[in-house]
Amino acid sequence: MINYFTSHFDTLRLEFWPLLVGGLASGFIYAMVAIGYTLVYGVLRLINFAHSEIFMSGGFASYFVIRAVIGTSQPSGLESILLIGLGVVSGGAAGALVAVLVERVAYRPLRRRKAPALAYLISAIGASYFLFNLAGKEFGRYLYAYPTIFVNHPVFTIFGAGVQMYYVVVAIAGVIMLITLDRVVAKSKLGRSVRAVAQDAETASLMGVNIDRTIVVTFLIGGALGGAAAFLYGITSGVIYTMGFTPALKAFTAAVLGGIGNIRGAVLGGLLLGVVESLSVAFVQGSYIDVAAFTVLVLVLLFRPTGILGERLGRSA
């Protein structure tokens, strides 16, 4: 037993910095997906079960766009940067489109009827099931690997650990998008109405906030972030019709960990989960890593369902 721990702690000590960097990169991706859960939860008080497929749509869309643009060329320098931008934009656009469609088809008719919460969950599960199986049929049940967009060499080293280009790309793209989102929600008129609806939908509607439009906007923003995150995720993990399931479950864990309904909490939860998961590689066999992430979810839900920062989308961010 002691041997087990000393040897595993050795791995942890030697590999700490590379694992941390990798964990932070996947943390950014979880954070971006987690925001989709948190925003929708804020306005509807419901978990959007179809968010995993919004993610998946972003992955496929950006893959096909990038593949068409690259062809057989070997991009470098400015081309790579433009391609990354293109991937983020096309993934985000597809994610946003599918999110709005899901709201339109699976949520809005139920909202009109004031259906009980169980009905929303079931209809969202139906949407998720429909979408990923449709993707499986249309694109084949096959893992597509991205063509090379940039050369993934170490850019610089921290504490002896080489930080690869991929991590830098994810971190930069993630930080830009998260800061933009935070500003939009905190400052713009759109963001104000989102916060108003999150706090008290009835009063907000009396004050002249268009609830339907605000809900569409939250799906749109969450979908765009999720779709863009799927591009960043797909660069290394590839694209397949079932790709949404595991990252989305983890992102949901991150959202709960940070306090569902709380945007900054989602970011914190995402980064934390990414790092914890990455470091647990030192202790847990590969096939059980998902079990570790999931155990975190169950423990958080049982012992601190309001998360680290608590629910506060409605309150001043």
């Binding site: 919460a117 079931i122 139906g126 499986g136 049929k137 249309e138 998902d290 169950v298 049982l302």
Partner: protein, 447 residues
Amino acid sequence: MSRWWRRPSVVRLASSVSVMAAVELVTGPPGSNAAPMAGVSGSFAEKVSFFGLFASPRWSVFLVYALVLYGVWSLWLHRGRQIRNAASVVLARPRNIAQRGTIRWSAAVVLVVVAALLPHFVSDPFWQTAMVEQIAVYVLLALGLNVVVGFAGLLDLGFVAFYAVGAYATAWVTGALPLPPLFGVHLNPFFAIPIAIALAMLAGVLLGTPTLRLRGDYLAIVTLGFGEIIFLFANNLNGITGGSAGTGQIPHFSIHLASIKYVWGLAPVPYYYLTLAFVVLFVIAFSLLEHSRIGRAWTAIREDEVAAESLGINPLKFKVMAFAIGAASAGFAGVVTAAQTNFVNPSVFTLYFSINILVLVIFGGMGSISGAVLGAIVIQTVSMYLIHTPPAGYQPQDLYIYLGALLIVMMIFRPSGLLPSKRRRREIGLAEAGEGHMDEVLTGDTP
């Protein structure tokens, strides 16, 4: 508001076209790795025969369908009320008759007799096997999940776990697992029935006790995750479960009583009767349960947990009980499957499976026993038919697309299902009229 694209007729037309475009995609040819866009483009461009008159691309045919849909929809908006009223006048008498207790029971008896005679009319071995493995077993599973989702109102997305426990327990006590059976005794699957049911119920209690404190939507995610964990364990614990290859050599059921010797063989019909007997047992037990104290307590908790608790009902206890009781029939279904097919393999125990069972219950009617049975029979028969005689371009996995769409359609148009339970129908009606607290219980807004 007066912008042209917001006018109801325009929205209706656009919706009709979108719905048909979706149908076009779903029913169109599949894509492949070599040509990932072939599915999408083929769905619209492929030429089909237009009512046997001339060949025309799919998009034009579906455009005609969309216009028909638009027409029917518009007609329904203008005349729907009259049609519905006329229908309810016509149906009022049969409906009243159908609700009489004696009629319901005699209908059930007739159904059982029909079910018992069915194997004599079905000679196709495909259908004989399907009747056991795909229909009777699924009826059992739908009955169990109906207790959890329908009676207690708990959305369990990991229901497959209990089925897996039943199947692996059978493999274990009959000595087919790498894990040696208790006391080294290899038992006949008949003895596996009580053990598997008990273990499945125990699994229900173990999974339920921590998770059933959670609100409805969190519970759904946690059960989904537990289902996946069970799969991961079954798939990876080679020394216990046999890993991803699973395990074979599970013996058939057999009776050795003095001079009576009977072994259930490879032929499915004997299994059909065995399962049918248990279906009848479970139906009787669950309907007695529905109208017992426990059933009333479930309804109370489902409708208003706070009020129920103020009356001294311990919500957690009754929820765990629902999990355990639902698990019992799933555990038994696991025994039948394991014994009939002689092997257990983790690839069955996935999220797909849990969702499929959920569709059966939702389609039939949450909380309605007859609904669960009918839902399972109808959906499983259709899906088996699609496998037996597939339409052009149909792949078995396409079924899930239709099931997903069915869930959405049911929630939009008939949330209480095909054969709704009386209580459930009232509840949904009340929630929509702004009465009742069902919503509050599920989203748990209490601080």
